[in-house]
């Protein structure tokens, strides 16, 4: 097998697996900020117990996120040496900034949050979860800076056979950074909301610690409604407009627009068939795509036929992943709206079927994240840096295919094992539920 393909398989696998965890950690951390803040203000024992309980889930998720993230820090060098040499002048800085401004903060204060409850004042303890959360969010920011630069490079020139930085802030705030950050962070908040809602729903269904679980369910539902709505508008919508403006070939691919047209329709549902690229069984809304992309029902949208075939991303996978992300986004809004309505009517606790749905919905935001991400990254192909460097030119030339195959097998084995154990321990932790209220913990 050729090394380009192997390198890509390894990257997709390692990063795809890693990306299952940070959205949950970040979202959960923000919810813990809310929970702990209530606890700090109201001085009620329930919030402390909730904090400890969800803190355990955070710790578990965080540790797998950290473990799999280590690989990412070094993999550009091991497997993408040509890429690293070509973009190191620009791409290295956000990675280093992530370490300096984010990794230290989140990991140092996580230790304090988890083990320091009885060692520091309540204020310092609340401060520690704030720092964990801010650290995790800043970490997302810097890695998204790096990713966005690959999508919409800015602030550089090609000099001495490589991309050299000319303006740091232009590179950091390249055209897609801000919207990508907001869309991705909001996705993480959705993941956190559904984690807390699902776990709480489970406890309520099992009649376990219901008083506690109802509190966290309430927080998660109100919070979840807001963030789910925001994900569609403005963040999802603006992401689409950004892609339409800067990456028209990707836009055509994810929307399934195969011929350029004015008054382009939005494909709400379709089954793409290749080749020739064609949408079967489609349901369309005329003119809507033109309006969404450019604010004008008659605007012209470029289709796949406008681009040279060797500059096109894979069509099937981008279309399918993008559309499923959107469908899930709609589902999240729907679920949260119904839950909010029932909560206001005081009927949520008896609507067993909805509570059950919330339990099963726990993994869905994570799946939506993966899908969104696949459409963004696969949609960037065949470029590793959009319109600047091709993925096939970016690998490490001196690493033999056999070595990469070895590492793929190694990581596949490790990740299957760890993924399985994570799920097993997560379920165990949830089933165990919050620790019973103690009279007062006595420390030796």
């Amino acid at each position: 097998m050729d090394t380009v393909l192997l390198s890509r398989i390894q990257f997709a696998m390692t990063i795809g697996f890693h990306f299952l965890f940070p959205p949950v950690s970040i979202g959960l951390a923000w919810l813990l900020v809310i929970i702990e803040s209530f606890g700090f203000k109201r001085k009620e024992e329930v919030y402390v117990r909730l904090g400890k309980f969800f803190g355990k889930i955070l710790a578990l998720t965080f540790s797998v996120g950290v473990a799999t993230g280590i690989v990412m820090e070094f993999q550009f060098g091991t497997n993408w040496a040509e890429y690293s040499k070509f973009v190191g002048d620009i791409f290295g800085a956000p990675l280093a900034a992530e370490g300096v401004f984010a990794f230290f903060l989140e990991s140092t204060f996580l230790g304090l949050y988890l083990f320091g409850r009885d060692k520091v004042s309540k204020g310092v303890h609340l401060f520690s979860i704030w720092m964990v959360t801010i650290g995790a969010t800043i970490s997302a920011f810097w890695i998204i800076v790096a990713g966005s630069w690959m999508q919409t490079p800015a602030g550089y020139v090609i000099k001495n056979g490589r991309a050299e930085l000319t303006n740091f802030w232009d590179a950091v705030f390249n055209p897609s950074t801000v919207i990508r950050f907001l869309h991705t962070i909001d996705a993480a908040l959705i993941a956190g909301a559904f984690m807390v809602a699902g776990v709480s729903a489970y406890l309520i269904l099992k009649n376990k610690e219901t008083e506690l679980a109802k509190r966290s369910m309430k927080i998660a539902v109100y919070f979840g409604l807001i963030v789910s709505l925001l994900e569609l508008f403005p963040f999802g919508h603006e992401s689409g407009r950004e892609v339409a403006k800067y990456q028209p070939a990707k836009f055509a691919a994810i929307q399934g627009l195969y011929t350029s047209q004015t008054g382009a329709p939005l494909a709400v549902f379709a089954i793409p068939v290749m080749p020739p690229p064609e949408l079967k069984a489609k349901i369309e809304i005329p003119g809507l795509l033109s309006w969404l992309a450019f604010g004008d029902f008659n605007a012209k949208v470029q289709g796949i036929n406008d681009f040279p075939s060797n500059d096109l991303p894979p069509l099937f996978i981008t279309f399918v992943s993008y559309h499923n992300m959107v469908v899930l986004g709609m589902l999240f809004i729907l679920l949260m709206m119904i839950a909010t309505y029932l909560l206001r009517k005081n009927k949520l606790w008896d609507t067993k079927i909805l509570l059950k749905m919330f339990v099963w919905a726990i993994p869905l935001p994570v799946i939506a994240c993966e899908l969104g991400w696949i459409s963004a990254e696969v949609g960037r192909q065949p470029w590793i840096v959009y319109n600047v460097m091709r993925t096939s030119d970016a690998i490490s030339r001196n690493v033999p295919a056999g070595d990469i195959l070895f590492s793929i097998i190694l990581f596949a084995f490790i990740y299957l094992l760890i993924g399985y154990l994570y799920l097993y321990l997560l379920v165990k932790e949830i089933k165990h539920g919050p620790e019973p209220a103690l009279v007062k913990e006595v420390l030796s």
Binding site: T68, T78, S84, L95, G99, F168, E441
Partner: protein, 338 residues
């Protein structure tokens, strides 16, 4: 001092920070392999539980900073060390999750599995750290266009393995001193004999390595002996090494760990000094070496990064000290412990 030199220094400082901080928790992990008693194991784990993750960030940040300041080195060395790197990553993954995983199931088989993964996940990085440094000191097969042209087995040469044993014995000693500080009673009594034995092993191995370096990489000594900085670091190293057992004997473990930290700092300082201005000497032809000039980023990039480091690192150091102080004192096992 030019930007390239400043970044050479900063990367050196990150490596020192990593060796001092993650050094002791890797060492605790190595010693963990040799204890059978469950109470002792939990004291070991919880002595580093709240801090190990922050310590490892020094490695991650070092990697990121190397990428940003000297991308050619990052690309060449990491792709050249492909297989050892993958093994290192595998070890670090298992080590990172074992803290959380181990205590979550009470079956003895499960505990045993994670005991091994944690121990080996600490042992392997401790040796590989030295092996990597050994290879850098003796030079790598770098060709005229700056590409690595060796293979996996070249990396496992006797000299580098010797340096690997130096780092292993040092980290284990460093970790044993840390444990003396954090434990009490029976657990502590059992650690004490390790401290002195490891100190002796380390001193012996380090002396041996220095001796072989004369033959393996004589170019490292060119002009070194005329450099006053060399003599300062050398004296610091000798004094620190001697003071470790003195303070251990006096039951002053905090002071002992300060001097074992100074030991590794001066060792890395000496290595850096002899390398400078090279980052990776080529053993095909010294002129092919990767240096702080031919492997660096542009001025603009290094300047931006310098601001990041100058703003960020003092804050990092401040809160790291704060959190260490919160957790100072002996380990107490509670419900929240691992």
């Amino acid at each position: 001092m030019d930007l390239n030199t400043i970044w050479f220094l900063l990367i050196g400082i990150l490596i020192m920070g990593y060796a001092v901080l993650d050094g002791f928790d890797l060492g605790v992990g190595v010693l963990y392999l040799f204890t059978k008693d469950e109470t002792a194991k939990r004291v070991y784990l919880n002595s580093i539980g709240p801090v190990w993750d922050g310590n490892e960030v020094w490695l991650l940040t070092g990697g990121g900073a190397l990428f940003a300041a000297f991308p050619i080195v990052y690309a060449t060395v990491f792709s050249g060390f492909y297989i050892p790197f993958m093994l290192l990553l595998a070890a670090l993954i298992f080590r990172a999750v074992s803290f959380e995983f181990r205590g979550k199931v009470s079956s003895p088989g499960w505990k045993k599995l994670w005991d091994y993964l944690f121990g080996i996940g600490s042992l392997l990085p401790s040796i590989l750290f030295g092996i990597a440094i050994g290879n850098i000191i003796s030079g790598l097969p770098i060709d005229i266009s700056g590409n690595y042209v060796g293979n996996f087995l070249d990396l496992l040469n006797p000299y580098s393995i010797l340096v690997g044993l130096v780092s292993l014995s040092f980290f284990a000693m460093h970790g044993s001193i840390y444990l003396m500080m954090k434990s009490e009673g029976l657990v502590k009594e059992k650690v004490l004999p390790y401290v002195n034995r490891l100190w002796m092993a380390f001193v012996l191995l380090y002396a041996l390595t220095t001796f072989f370096t004369f033959f393996e990489a004589p170019f490292q000594f060119n002009g070194l002996l005329n450099n006053p900085l060399f003599w300062m670091l050398f004296v610091l190293l000798l004094v620190s090494i001697v003071l470790i057992p003195v303070f251990v004997k006096a039951n002053k473990f905090f002071k002992a760990i300060i001097f074992s930290s100074l030991t590794i700092i001066s060792m890395i300082g000496l290595t850096a000094l002899s390398l400078f201005p090279r980052l990776v000497p080529s053993n095909i032809d010294l002129d092919f070496s990767l240096t702080i000039y031919n492997a660096s980023s542009s001025k603009t990039s290094m300047t931006a990064m310098l601001y990041i480091a100058l703003i960020g690192m003092p804050i990092v150091i401040a809160y790291t000290i704060f959190v260490y102080r919160v957790f100072k004192g002996k380990v107490v096992i509670t419900k929240e412990s691992y």
